[in-house]
């Protein structure tokens, strides 16, 4: 459960925070293609996270909203010509800005506040971990749809082959090394075996 003070801090500064995150994304070298997106749409999306910080961070991943939202986002970003590393970077820039904002308000004299910050960090990290995983899943799905690309080891047959190759390597390593037999014939060394 997020503490009221931190929630109020983020939600109360949602407009200003969102603008600063959007500026960061639009000016960062790792997220150049975000210029393809309408700035207002991007701002609205980030404002939604900041203004409903408590809701998004306490969302249970099993309930599926984060999963669906970020899978769809991964697909949408692909259609908008944004690469996967850029999408991942934008999510991390957002997280970093939120984290900097929270830690800038840490009160060193109160252990309770530090506990609250630490607790918030778990939720923040968990939320963005799920977001990055699901956005990547969505991106992989659309790569398969559009380019027919699927990671080879996703294919059960290819996976079985790779496991068989591994078994073979392991067997060779476990076998005792056999030294070649030495046959001395008139000063020559002939190796057999």
């Amino acid at each position: 459960m997020l503490t009221r003070r931190i929630v109020d801090l983020i939600q109360g500064n949602a407009a200003e925070l969102s603008k600063s995150i959007v500026n960061e994304i639009l000016s960062h070298p790792t997220t150049k293609s975000y210029h393809n997106i309408d700035e207002k749409t991007l701002l609205d999306m980030i404002y939604d996270i900041c203004s409903r910080f408590s809701y998004w961070l306490s969302e249970d991943d099993d309930r599926g909203e984060v999963k669906k939202h970020y899978r769809d986002l991964g697909k949408r970003r692909f259609e908008q010509g944004i690469t996967l590393p850029e999408v991942v970077s934008a999510l991390y820039l957002t997280k970093r800005k939120l984290w900097e904002f929270i830690t800038a308000h840490r009160d060193v004299t109160s252990s309770l506040d530090l506990n609250q910050i630490l607790e918030t960090s778990f939720l923040l990290v968990r939320f963005f971990d799920h977001a990055v995983v699901h956005v990547t899943e969505g991106y992989e799905e659309i790569l398969k749809e559009k380019y027919g690309y699927e990671a080879p080891l996703r294919n059960p047959e290819r996976f079985a082959e790779a496991m068989a190759e591994k078994e073979k390597r392991m067997r060779v390593m476990k076998e005792k090394p056999r030294l070649p037999e030495l046959c001395f014939t008139k000063g020559m060394i002939r190796l057999e075996g």
Binding site: L84, P85, K95, S121, V133, L153
Partner: protein
């Protein structure tokens, strides 16, 4: 305190590497790791844990972090891994480090909580870049424009 947390992980790098290896091998979401040689996988994880301070305390935007993880992304793509599996494995590693710090009960006093916040900042900063560069290496090697 930050050093104490890093030292604790480095000292326990062998058992932690073994534990994470088992987690990666038994998790259905990171199934492709089963195709790697166990010893190689263990050594890769151990190399990271035994030098955690080296990795966490340097600038992750450049140098070794960038080149190592870009290369990992590229290599794992060639080996047939999916990018989601790689992202999941790095998140699992981060969680594993953090759980170890919590389990050892290092953070009890307020000053230790402050170090805990510093530690989680370094840890996240590192893994954000590790995941970003892995994704970059993987994606570039796909040749998708």
């Amino acid at each position: 305190m930050l050093e104490k947390m890093i030292e604790m992980i480095e000292k326990n790098s062998e058992s932690m590497a073994e534990d994470l290896k088992e987690k990666l091998l038994s998790d259905p979401d990171t199934k492709s790791f089963q195709t790697l040689d166990d010893k190689v996988l263990y050594e890769d994880i151990h190399a990271f844990y035994s030098r955690l301070g080296y990795w966490l305390l340097r600038d992750p935007e450049m140098g070794d972090v960038k080149s190592y993880y870009t290369e990992i992304g590229k290599r794992r793509r060639m080996e047939g891994f999916s990018i989601t599996e790689l992202v999941r494995s790095l998140i699992l590693t981060k969680k594993h480090v953090w759980d170890a710090v919590l389990e050892k009960g290092i953070m009890d006093a307020p000053v230790e909580l402050n170090s805990g916040i510093d530690f989680i900042t370094y840890l996240n900063r590192f893994f954000d870049f590790a995941i970003y560069y892995t994704t970059l290496g993987y994606y570039k090697s796909l040749g998708v424009s």
